[in-house]
Every structure is written in structure tokens, then in C-alpha cells.
Assembly symmetry: C2
Homo-oligomer: 205 residues x 2
DNA sequence: ACCTGGATGTGGCCACTGTCAACATCTCGG
DNA sequence: CCGAGATGTTGACAGTGGCCACATCCAGGT
């Protein structure tokens, strides 16, 4: 007859994990504080000892999602084994985009939570990840720089290329996840993605 | 001393309008059934005589938003006065994209509501606006067809061009509205949009 | 060995929401 | 003119996020 301990031991981490599970299956709106507490076997108020409010918990889930996204991108990047620098860089760029979309489609809930979070800003209020060394955006910039260095992308087109790439893959993900392409059959969806990546790639030449 | 009439007269339309106002200022989550009723000066349950549930009301607002978007796009398209067919088509394509982003930024709430709605699907479940004559998507396809006809876009690149264009402008809008580019100063934002439109345009050549 | 203060978890409460069911009121066609 | 159907109201319910006061536990100092 072991009575459950009054203190959980590592409630904070447990809550984040449960919240992430809910986010995975039901998106941001599925992360209901009381349900998280229920599933973690704790009272509906315990979470407030570890998070200021629901948003702070969601923030943790968002960080977790960003980590997963970055790992997925890095994993796919590592599969490119081409020698020729320019071809290699171009393939790596493509894999970056493909990994982004693939993650969004595989983990729509986490993706949505991760994206809906606040983003770091510098003192002027402008986005401040330009000098970040990690994170999906930094990774994209890195790959784009590789492409410039390899001679595959005219330096004049380099500024703006990051936003263009990001917008394309992000928009595609949204169109498929929540938008008009929601019910597009898988093969057509993949074809559309390839076509889009082709167009963007052609535009960066 | 005129006592207010028991019946409103045109409650349905009035509710949609109030809901649209709320959507404009507070996005989809701001469209709270009870608040809509309150502002319309009616009891919190009156809406149920006209809409099955909150989603149906939101659907009306979404249609309204789509109309506005399409009108904005058409208005901008009409400003292109160039004669040369190819240049004209290319400019019209650009204005299409610019109008989309501009509407999203000017009316973020309506935009979000409009986009989050269900979309028509055909019997197979695939999106069914391919043969639509109106709506933003039909307009985009029309402009792309113009570009092909004018010789500005190789027919081989025509399939997929629609999704690519849409994804780019939609993604850009999302990055600015809810994403990392949220606090980007206006001038930098415009520059980034121009750069992106350039890249997409180059890709469609 | 105590005991005391801070950290952690609990239960009760409030305002708010969407939705349902029962009731009230009005309007219009026979 | 009168009754049926459409429209609007009141009241209730379960569910939510958030706050407060209280209960419990653990660690560190004496």
C-alpha cells in the first residue's frame, strides 16, 4: 500500500511532456490546462506553481517543437552526400525546405504551437535571430550562404532569399494543413511541393 | 417612449456585421457569440435562430472576408495599364500577389477568419475550386494563364505555378502577421516582399 | 531531535464561454 | 380574428483559465 507521494518529483517536465502530447494530437487549442493536469495525475492548479499561465506552458511546448524541427532539418541535410559544391549546396537547400514541410505535415499540432509563439526581438523591435547560431532560421541562412559561396546564387539575390524560401515552404505547409489544399491526395501534394521547390530554386539563380 | 420592437427585423445580417467587426479587431477568437449578441443588442441565444452554431456564423464572416480579398485583388489588377502583353501579364501577376499580402496586413482578423474556414471539395475530397470562376484562387489562375498566353511563362512550368505563387504570398503574410517577421519595420517588410516577388517571378521564366 | 519557513500541491471559487430546452412574444395567412 | 410558425428571451449546464486560501512536505539551522 504505497500512497502516492504528495510531491510529484519533476512535475514541470511531466507537464510539458503531457502538454506536448496534447498539442501533437489536438493542436494548440487542445492544450487545456485542466486536461494536462488530469493526465499528469495532479490537481488543476498544480501547474501554476511552475508556469505563470497557460501561455507560458505553451511556450515550453513551442520550444520543444522548434527543437524537433531543427533536428529534422539537420538530419535531412546530413543525407546529402554530393561532392560538387554547387550541386551540393542546391540539394541541401532543397532538403531544408522539404524537411520543413515534412515536419509540418507529420506534426501539425507541434508545428502550429511552435509557430504561434512569440519570437525574439532586438531593442528596436525587429526580429533578432539574424545572429542566432541555432534554430531553423539560422540553418536556412547557413545553407543559403553555402550556396552563395559555391557560386550557385548571385550575391545580389542573397538578401531576401531567406524570407522568400521560408515564406514558400511555410505558406505551402499552411495551405496543406489548414487551407484549401487540406484534402489534396498525397501524390498530388508531393508533386506540387516539388514544383514549388523547382520554381523557387530557379528564382535563385 | 417607443419600446424597442421584440423582433429585430434583420438580425441575421446584423449579427454577421457585428461578428465581422469583432473579427477585424480581435481575430477569430474575438468572435465570441455572446459578445456579438450583446453588441447587436439582443439576447445571448438569439443567434441560434439564424446559425446552427458559432462556426456557421464564422463561416459567414469568412465569406465576407473572401469577397473583400477578391475585390481588393481586382481593384489592384485594374491599375495595370501596360500595353505589351507579356509585361502586362507579369505586372498583373505581381499586383495579384501584392494585393494578397496587402489585404492580409490591412485586415489581419478578417484574413485569418477567411483562411481558416472549410474549403469546397469535390467528390474525391480534393479541392474543388479549379473550375471556379470567382474567388482569389480563380483570379490567380486567370492571371497565370494570361502570362502563359503572352509567352512569359513556359507551359511546362504552368502546373504548380499557382500553388507556388499562393504559398509564397500566403507564407509571407503569415510570417509577418503571426510569425518571426511580426515586428519588422514597414520599409524592411516592403523590401522583403519585393525581393520575394522578384525571386518568384524569376522562377517563372 | 526539533521546528520553522519556503516550495509544492489541493480544493473552492469566480467570470466567462458555447449550447440546449422551455417559455414568451410577435407576425402573417387562412 | 386567431392560431401556427418564426423569432427572441430566460435559465441552466458543463467546460474553461485564473485567483485565493489552505494543506502538505522537505531541508536547513539550532
Amino acid at each position: 500500500m504505497t500512497t502516492p507521494p504528495y510531491h510529484h518529483g519533476n512535475l514541470r517536465a511531466a507537464l510539458v511532456e503531457t502538454a506536448a502530447e496534447l498539442a501533437r494530437t489536438s493542436g494548440p487549442d487542445g492544450v487545456v490546462l485542466r486536461e494536462v493536469a488530469r493526465r499528469t495525475g495532479v490537481s488543476h492548479n498544480a501547474a501554476y506553481r511552475h508556469f505563470a499561465d497557460r501561455d507560458e506552458l505553451l511556450g515550453e511546448v513551442a520550444d520543444l517543437g522548434m527543437d524537433h524541427l531543427e533536428r529534422a532539418m539537420r538530419a535531412r541535410l546530413a543525407t546529402v552526400r554530393t561532392r560538387d559544391p554547387e550541386v551540393r549546396a542546391r540539394r541541401r537547400l532543397r532538403e531544408t525546405g522539404r524537411a520543413y514541410v515534412q515536419f509540418a505535415l507529420a506534426e501539425p499540432g507541434l508545428f502550429e504551437v511552435a509557430f504561434a509563439q512569440e519570437w525574439p526581438t532586438d531593442e528596436t523591435g525587429a526580429p533578432d535571430f539574424s545572429h542566432q547560431e541555432s534554430g531553423p532560421y539560422a540553418l536556412l541562412n547557413q545553407v543559403l550562404d553555402e550556396l552563395v559561396a559555391a557560386g550557385g546564387l548571385p550575391p545580389a539575390l542573397r538578401p531576401g532569399a531567406d524570407v522568400a524560401c521560408w515564406a514558400a515552404v511555410h505558406g505551402f505547409s499552411m495551405l496543406v494543413l489548414q487551407g484549401p489544399l487540406r484534402h489534396l491526395p498525397t501524390d498530388q501534394r508531393d508533386a506540387a511541393l516539388d514544383a514549388m521547390l523547382d520554381i523557387v530554386s530557379r528564382g535563385l539563380t
